[in-house]
Amino acid sequence: MRTALILALKDAQLAGRTRDTLLSTAFFAGLLLLVLGLGLGSGLGSEAAQLRPAAAGAVWSALALAAAVAAGRAFASEQEAGAFEALTLYPGPHGGLYLGKLLGTLLQMLLLSVFIVPLGLLFFGALGAGVAVPWPALALTVLLGVLGLCASSTFYAAITVNLRAREALLPALAFPVLVPVVLASVQATRYLLQGGWSPEVTTWLGFLALFDLSVIVISTLLFPFVLEN
């Protein structure tokens, strides 16, 4: 865990200084919301309310793809600095490197979510006058959902870091693992937006928590084999 914290702190320091990952993921997620909104006929006018059922799906699609970009950058930046090999040769268990990269990516994605989630909900008519949003429950959903997205994407980002077409391959490879996270997050968000906390929300969030834990444990155990092969 010590290695993970040192690495995450370094990544956070670099992210705060360069902001390249944060800006690129924010731009990407914002653009995706805009394209989805325009494609579905949204605007900020009266038609936006008709798109309310699509809000959760649009927001989580944007977050899922942004997480793939952020996780890819987490490893690509090491490669660009000529530091990736050195990183794999530090003493200690390699699982710590996975957890460190996961933590660094998670912090940036949570920061991004603070802007993207309200923006998406607003754009798709799920936020505004007369709409009650259960923010604490939504924040918990975002935390669990983003954690799941980052956990899966970070693992696959390490696999693709040495490949030439890594930007294209990462979302494709991670897709099967991202699907359950996106589905559960969309369902939980949809139920929350429809009527607040309900047994369905509890079920979906329970599934998300279990899925996140499983992915993190399995990825931590498998990570040394990924780096060594």
């Binding site: 370094k10 000529g82 530091a83 090999e85 050195a86 003493p91």
Partner: protein
């Protein structure tokens, strides 16, 4: 116990066999200069010893640990590779602090930077340093990180006369601290001053040896 013991090591990168049945013995505390033309496989051999690469065939031990036991090998080896491994948007001080923490060690970063004449650049981002300053910064790790086996790839590249002297001093310091040293260099007249056992890598094999 020997620091490095390699037997019949073959290593293929793509279709090319870079190392072809290579044998190597380095005693603990010894200092070796690895010579050879560009592409002879010097860097590859260092990376293999550091466990960054796996041998296609053959076996090896680092301080008694099998090469396939990468975690134990990593605990004993420090590779200063061809890639400098510096984060361009961190300062020299931050880069060294990160390396130290990742190795679980403490050290006097200010003194190490002073020795490398980098005190005035200590808080500038690395991306704004010259190639020579970056190289000196990389070598400064030698003064801070104590490891039983130190592998250095091209320590004199990009360095002026003063920088080369610094590299020699840092290598001497590592030897005096008890580290075994293997240095891949194109400047035998410099490297042999600190690492007097010369091995020549040619066609994937260590074909010549002299003292």
């Amino acid at each position: 116990m020997p620091a490095v013991q390699l037997r019949g090591i073959w290593l293929r990168l793509g279709r090319d066999a870079v190392l072809r049945g290579l044998d190597l013995d380095v005693a603990a505390g010894e200092a070796v200069t690895l010579l050879g033309r560009n592409g002879a496989g010097k860097s590859t051999l260092l990376r293999l010893i550091a466990s960054a690469l796996s041998a296609t065939r053959g076996e090896g031990r680092i301080f008694g640990y099998d090469l396939t036991d990468r975690r134990s090998v990593r605990d004993h080896v420090h590779l200063l590779g061809h890639d400098l491994g510096l984060y361009p948007d961190l300062t020299p001080r931050e880069n060294l602090a990160f390396s130290l923490k990742m190795h679980g060690q403490n050290g006097d970063i200010a003194a190490a930077l002073e020795q490398a004449d980098l005190t005035r650049a200590a808080d500038r981002r690395v991306r704004f340093l010259s190639a020579g300053m970056k190289k000196r910064l990389t070598l400064t790790r030698l003064a801070l990180l104590a490891r039983p086996l130190v592998l250095i790839d091209e320590p004199f590249a990009n360095l002026d006369a003063e920088g080369r002297e610094l590299a020699l001093n840092l290598m001497r310091g590592a030897r005096e601290a008890g580290s075994t040293l293997i240095v891949a260099a194109h400047e035998p007249e410099l490297s042999l001053r600190v690492a007097p056992r010369a091995l020549v890598l040619e066609a994937g094999q260590l074909t010549e040896e002299g003292r």
